[in-house]
Amino acid sequence: MLRGLWQLTWLEIKIFLREPLGAIGTLLMPVAVFLVVGRAMGRGTGTPSAGATAFLQSGLPVMASVFISISAVVSLVTIVSIYREGGILKRLRATPLRPYTILSAHVLVKLLFTAITLSLLMLAGRRLYPAGLDVPVFSFAMAVLISTLSILSIGFVIASLVRTARFAQPVGALIFYPMIGFSGLFVPIESMPPSLQVVAHLLPMTYIVSLLRGIWSGAPWSAHLGDLAALAVVSMVCAALSAKVFKWE
């Protein structure tokens, strides 16, 4: 039973928007980074190099999307720990709200803002790619949402282990951002030393990058069933784990 889910989700959206830093950081920062990097690479030298063009074609959008996902997750970890430290989770739990309703509301809020930021990004992209790209926008958006959902589950595990709100944000950032380095976004996985390749294949970010890059360049979903399966495993394992270790107070 999901009594109160919509009311709570709507409230959390409003509350989130009342915190100016959170709203600006989550909604506008990825778009700003995207525009600045895109401009620097695309227009720095009269004609962009082949590598820069390739990055603009698929690397940059994928990177920006990964940033959106990660900032959503870090923000979730932070909010959950603030809510726990302030006794807000405990207070909400002492109502007819079911525990998973409380957490689902936060997941929905994060997914919604991921979608909004992504839309802003697409709009901003029109300035960088005036000619327009032949991109399956809806599929790509779905892929970003799936990616976000899968690492949100890791966020809950982190939120369970990090007890104080002060450390939630840095710990979250320290865990997620370095994953990008191993994800094949900048350095192809095939060119990594074998030991790092193993690491790369253990990190969910690798599958996210592979999925996003593929869908962006027009590959069908069926070509990425492996990535989807890996992300599904991550979600299920982390959801089960956090159900065990999650602390409400």
Binding site: G4, Q7, L11, I15, Y83, I88, K90, A94, T95, L97
Partner: protein
């Protein structure tokens, strides 16, 4: 009021440990319908743990709890419909507005929003409807929590350290609100470490110390039982007075400073005996005051014993 009070809460032999720390042990008591029942004791005595076991937020390791005929841990969702809860040190989202919290709670309990608005009015929060939670004063926050605890028109209301951190004026205002809850026929189960609060507010109290209940009764009967001492302070010029005071039945000591006497004795009849003595010997008294022991004295006495043991 029926002569035979119905039991709202029955706690029997409850034990709860956190790791190797025993929070409460062998705790047993009953709360009757329509009363304000207080669980009193110092910080860390096990008040909140006991309360949260009764609310169904914690599962006791041992013992049985029945709340309005339900098992609070197993039937927690059914119970939540019938109880109201105010938690110690709980907060709401910093930027949630007062009316938003009230309406959310109303919707969770399937009550119309108008019920929530009426409660905000009754608790003096009408002009704070649009204020963020973080901008409310301590007293206003607690009034909001009381409003939220009452929104489902509960039969039983739990209040945990309701007035901690409030100034005396806000505290008195909250006491009036709690009496108002009882006047509506509801049962109140509260905790406090303020003896004055318990004495003024509670019909019955349970004293808890180191996780164990020491005694349960009305504040007056606890005082009578544990602190039979009576102290009378009076001022007289009568030169024979001191000798006469020494002959009073059950007198413990007579302290004299000039014309001021402090006379200590024990028992309900001690003050009467003293007054009779004064009248009989026509002792002229310029000042007369009795000092009655309070719950505070009871508590000091009881915990003092346990420390000496």
């Amino acid at each position: 009021m029926s002569r035979d009070p119905q039991t709202a809460v029955r706690v029997a032999g409850v034990r709860k440990t956190y790791g190797r720390t025993v929070a409460v042990d062998e705790v047993s008591f009953e709360v009757f319908e329509g009363e304000i029942f207080g669980l009193i004791g110092p910080n860390g005595a096990g008040k909140t743990t006991t309360l949260e076991c009764v609310e169904g937020l914690r599962k006791p390791d041992r013992g049985t709890i029945s709340v309005l005929g339900l098992d609070p841990f197993r039937d927690v969702y059914r119970l939540q419909e019938r109880i109201g809860v105010q938690l110690q040190q709980a907060h709401l989202q910093k930027r949630i507005k007062v009316w938003e919290a009230a309406h959310l709670w109303a919707s969770l309990y399937r009550k119309p929003a108008s019920d929530a608005d009426r409660l905000l009015d009754q608790l003096g929060l009408a002009d704070k409807r649009h204020a963020w939670f973080m901008t409310l004063s301590g007293g206003q926050q607690q009034r909001l929590f009381i409003a939220l605890a009452l929104i489902n028109d509960p039969e039983l209301v739990f209040l945990d350290e309701l007035t901690t951190g409030l100034d005396p004026q806000a505290r008195r205002a909250i006491w009036e609100l709690v009496r108002g809850i009882r006047a509506r026929g509801k049962t109140v189960f509260m905790t406090t470490h303020l003896m004055e609060e318990a004495e003024r507010l509670c019909d019955r109290v349970a004293i808890i110390e180191h996780g164990r209940i020491i005694d349960v009764d009305s504040p007056q009967r606890l005082v009578d039982r544990h602190c039979p001492e009576r102290t009378v302070v009076l001022v007289t010029d009568d030169p024979l007075a001191e000798e006469r005071f020494h002959t009073l039945p059950r007198v413990d000591e007579v302290i004299r400073v000039d014309t001021r006497f402090t006379i200590r004795g024990r028992g309900d009849d001690f003050v009467t005996a003293l007054i009779q003595c004064l009248a009989e010997h026509q002792v002229r008294v310029r000042d007369f005051r009795t000092e009655l022991p309070s719950l505070e004295d009871v508590f000091l006495k009881l915990t003092g014993h346990s420390i000496r043991d």
